[in-house]
């Protein structure tokens, strides 16, 4: 495939993703688009949570299957970035899926709960994302298909201020995007 065709295909994918999912974090249209001129990381809006085709859950080749059947999230203890046995199991399955679906890349998002200062939580989220990324690489996923980002405490998925919500918010999320690795 020549570069022009590939770029055109990629653009159409991005266009589709953008329609489904202008901003997976509910901001305005400009959203959290990744500046990724090479297209390696699929524009960053990706096919994450809101953009996944919900009918694909039973199709093992779909990102929806990855997200919901395998599970795109692993959780952490307070102030920790160590992977629990449960997290390793989920990441192991994520790795298998990524290895067998080489046309996808992934951005791993690290998150923290609100019980911490803003900048420390950014760094802590990065530690968590990196722990997940390193595990995926150790399981055979090419490192050039993965990238990490931290949102610190900026994007909780549960909004109560109790340990139940905090447990859900201390997480690393593997967000699948279309596009071959660099």
């Amino acid at each position: 495939m020549n570069i022009a065709v590939k770029a055109a295909l990629l653009l159409s994918v991005l266009g589709l993703a953008a329609c489904n999912n202008p901003d997976r974090f509910g901001g305005s249209d400009a959203g959290l688009a990744v500046n990724d001129p090479g297209g390696v990381f699929g524009g960053g809006t990706g096919l994450g949570a809101g953009g996944v085709d919900q009918t694909g859950i039973n199709n093992p080749d779909s990102p929806a299957y990855f997200q919901q059947t395998i599970g795109d999230k692993v959780h952490f203890l307070v102030d920790q970035s160590t992977l629990s046995p449960e997290a390793r199991q989920i990441l192991g399955q994520q790795a298998q899926w990524l290895v067998s679906h080489p046309t996808y890349t992934a951005i791993i998002e690290g998150h923290a709960d609100e019980q911490g200062t803003r900048e420390y939580n950014l760094a802590l989220g990065a530690r968590r994302a990196n722990a997940a990324e390193e595990f995926l690489i150790s399981q055979g996923v090419a490192s050039n298909r993965l990238r990490t980002v931290s949102y610190g405490k900026e994007r909780p998925i549960a909004v109560c201020s109790s340990s139940e919500c905090y447990n859900q918010n201390r997480r690393a999320v593997t967000v699948i995007a279309q596009g071959a690795g660099a």
């Binding site: 974090f25 509910g26 901001g27 305005s28 249209d29 400009a30 959203g31 959290l32 688009a33 990744v34 500046n35 990724d36 960053g44 102030d79 970035s81 951005i107 609100e114 019980q115 911490g116 200062t117 803003r118 900048e119 420390y120 950014l122 760094a123 802590l124 990065a126 530690r127 994302a129 990196n130 722990a131 990324e133 390193e134 990238r147 990490t148 980002v149 931290s150 949102y151 900026e154 994007r155 909780p156 998925i157 549960a158 909004v159 109560c160 201020s161």
Partner: protein
């Protein structure tokens, strides 16, 4: 007669105040922990010297009062108790009229507007010694800048009475917040320290965090997710242009802060999950690595002389505060109390460090000496964080967040004595405040 009686009553009630403010020497508030009783002062509405200046005269007097009252160090004697009235700036002061109502300081002012310029004149009197305190002053500005004129008058009065620098003619940069907790929209904004003149410097299309003023107040550094990854941007306040700082691909950069000379930037860079401190020139150039540890190092802040850096690190297992030289080197730990310490900021006076502390499920804003001694917690709540110093190092602003799904952020201020805790006026929810220097 009636007026006389009212004045007598007022005088008696004021005289019942504690003797702490009884005056032997010249009029002076020593800002120490011992000041409990605010100094009573009178500020008759400024005289309008031109026909169209009467509204501005009232407005300026009102802002000066608001500045002084807001410190908690001054108490205004209401106009209804005043005996002498000023029909012109030159009216001579009848001191007995002011001692009768126990005003210790008297401020007389006048405003005129002509030729597109607003002029404010004022005099400060020490009522009990029957003398003018300092010389009368005259300030000139564009009429649109009348609030700055008022703040400058208040700064001068505050300075003369306390012997400290003022802080009223200053601004704060902060993050305006809207929307629910899990989809919060953020904008960098700037306003006068008292909440007036709000300007939004970015839109809410991406997450923006922690604006930080340059030492000259002309630029703001902040962290933006506009590329999809946290990166530092430098914004010119006057023309609202901005540029991303250069980055090393595949890294995150955040927690920026200017050096005291405004020529370089301290920041955190994350690479491969590890966060260390770096320094670069404001025009780019090779970043200089300042720490090299597998721990998280962030929240760096220069000493006002630029020779040292205070920062937080979890190298001991929990977040603690450390000081090192401006070019790195072996740091010295300064925080040893229970709990976790973060977001250290060096006082503009150089003598103290403000910080966030987490302990036993609560957050606190605190201050300590630069050697870690004399730690004092000023606040306690579900979540307080991110202190910033007033230009004179006497007041701290910070972010307070409330818990739960409906929880929101607001800005608060507190004296370094721990007194005068109060919410700062902001349009809607606000966080991540940074106080500018005193404006020129």
């Amino acid at each position: 007669m009636l007026r006389m009686l009212m004045a007598m009553t007022a005088a008696m009630s004021f005289m019942a105040a504690p003797a702490a403010m009884a005056q032997d020497g010249p009029l002076r508030i020593e800002i120490t922990d011992g000041v409990i009783e605010p100094l009573p002062y009178a500020l008759p509405t400024f005289v309008a010297e031109t026909g169209d200046a009467s509204q501005m005269a009232q407005d300026i007097a009102s802002v000066v009062r608001s500045d002084l009252n807001g410190t908690g160090l001054f108490r205004e004697i209401p106009a209804s108790a005043h005996i002498q009235r000023f029909s012109s700036f030159g009216t001579s002061v009848n001191y007995s009229d002011w001692t009768a109502i126990n005003a210790q300081a008297l401020i007389v002012g006048a405003v005129s507007v002509s030729g597109g310029q607003a002029v404010v004149k004022f005099r400060l009197y020490d009522v009990f010694s029957g003398q003018e305190m300092g010389e009368g002053q005259q300030l000139v500005a564009n009429p649109q800048s009348w609030r700055r004129l008022a703040h400058k008058v208040a700064d001068t009065i505050y300075s003369r009475i306390t012997g400290e620098g003022g802080y009223f003619d200053s601004r704060v940069a902060f993050v305006n917040e809207t929307g629910p907790k899990d989809a919060r929209q953020k904008r960098i904004a700037i306003m006068d320290y008292d909440g007036a003149n709000v300007n939004y410097l970015t839109d809410s299309s991406t997450i923006v965090l922690a604006p930080r003023f340059s030492p000259d107040g002309n630029r703001v550094l902040y962290t933006t997710f506009e590329t999809g990854f946290p990166r530092i941007k430098m914004l010119n306040v006057s023309n609202v242009t901005s540029q991303l700082l250069p980055e090393t691909p595949g890294t995150m950069t955040f927690a920026p802060r200017f050096s005291p000379d405004g020529q370089s930037i301290l920041y955190s860079m994350e690479q491969g999950g590890n966060t260390d401190l770096y320094k670069m020139g404001i025009n780019g150039g090779n970043p200089q690595r300042l720490t090299n540890s597998p721990a998280i190092e962030t929240g760096p802040s220069f000493s006002p002389d630029g020779s040292k850096i205070v920062f937080e690190s979890d190298r001991s297992g929990t977040q603690q505060l450390y000081i090192m030289g401006a070019n790195g080197g072996e740091p010295t730990r300064i925080s040893f109390g229970e709990g976790r310490y973060s977001t250290p900021v060096w006082s503009p006076r150089g003598d103290m460090i403000a910080f966030t502390k987490q302990h036993a499920g609560r957050f606190h804003i605190g201050v300590m000496r630069t050697d870690g001694s004399e730690e004092r917690l000023l606040t306690a709540s579900f979540l307080d964080e991110g202190p910033t110093w007033s230009p004179n190092g006497r007041v701290i602003m910070f972010t307070r967040e409330t818990p739960g799904a409906q929880g929101g952020a607001s800005l608060w201020s507190v004296d370094i004595s721990g007194r005068n805790l109060k919410q700062v006026n902001t349009p809607g929810a606000a966080s991540d405040v940074s106080w500018s220097p005193l404006l020129p």
